[in-house]
Amino acid sequence: MLPLHAKVALSEEASPDAARAEAFKRIREVVTREYAVVWRFLRRLGVPPNDVDDATQIALARALARSEVIAPGCERSYLMRAAYHLSFECRRATRRSLERAADVDVDQLAARESTPDAELQRQRDRELLDQALDRLPTELRAVLTLFELEGMTFTEIASVLEIPRGTVASRLRRARGEFKRAVSRLRKGISPWS
């Protein structure tokens, strides 16, 4: 049985419209399956909550624009790679907008008011987590996120970031060191409540 991408290539010769329809069907399936993972990765890489849906869609579109070259089952590393590269652009844009104005997100504040205690606590913890991650350069942040939070293996991370496996290991060591220091600073800062 032919793999999907080979089928698409063959059918492209037969009928471009059918090939296009098949490619789009696959894109929709992959997006539904992988959206949350890419979304979470972008959030942990520092893309602000208000921008993360747009960023996720752009990353997915960039990666899947050439879906015919992606072998079935390998989509995630393409998507995460596109997200990783996009996060640099998002962070630059965020820095600029933060320099312009310190906006207060009224919707988020209102949502927080009505949130049950446990969820409120989790939101606070996530903010602290992101503050700690903010201390790391993106290269280390990405490795730490993919390994610790997304449970990816070194081999998978090496494929996403296009670096050798050994570099993944060394980046993870450095990322853990910096993360622990950042968490320790945070803990001191919030010790009255923790």
């Binding site: 929709r28 869609q57 997915l60 624009a65 050439r66 070259v69 610790e148």
Partner: protein, 252 residues
Amino acid sequence: MVLTQREPARLVSSNSTDEFTLRLLESAEFDQPTARAIGDAPARVTAFVARDQDLVVTTHVRAVSSTYKMRTSRPESLRITRAAGFGLLLGTSLAAAVVGVGHRSAPVKPTPVESVSAPAAPSSPGRVRPPAAREMQVQPVVAPSATSPNKPREVKATKPLSNDLGQEVALLDAAKAALSAGNAAGAIIALNDAARLPRRVLVPEATVLRVKALVILNRTAEARRLVRSFVAQAPNSPVNPVLRDLVAPFEK
């Protein structure tokens, strides 16, 4: 001997991780996009992809017309200098075309790109000279958009261009200008116009420009296919090393 590095235990499953750190790490698990965002995403992403694929059509007019406007507003002296510069390229290309034709023995299987539209050798290749001012003074093909900017589709209805070397040079020059301005989609438009010329001699140059544009547009699969088919048909073309270098990063 290959040493495989063992992966450490994750912090969330390690006994040495303190409770505070654990809490922070676990909080990430509950961070999810809204159900509505997930539901909307497939259609939106598909629309993004479709829009990018149609980019060539939608930017056609603006890109080509602005390129032509730039050309006509350029001082005459500069135009001539550029024409002479392009003449050097042209000289090479004619030689390349001759080489390409000379090595083609089997009937050519048609493919949709310029590499395969039979490059017609000039009637007297031995007396090729840079096209200097005469060819460049030939007015570039007038894009209908230049006069009716609100009717982009009219560009596609451009009549077949006459067999004029000057027109081919002008179109390739337009493609080069669009590429230098970062407008790869516009470059492809100009190259498509050039591909409609009935007789062409600048196929190798057009192929290099098209491959560059495709790579910039991230359409690397097409770029690789184009290079493969061009190299197969003109194995001794002087542009082959350039083409191979352009797609080398995307070869598996």
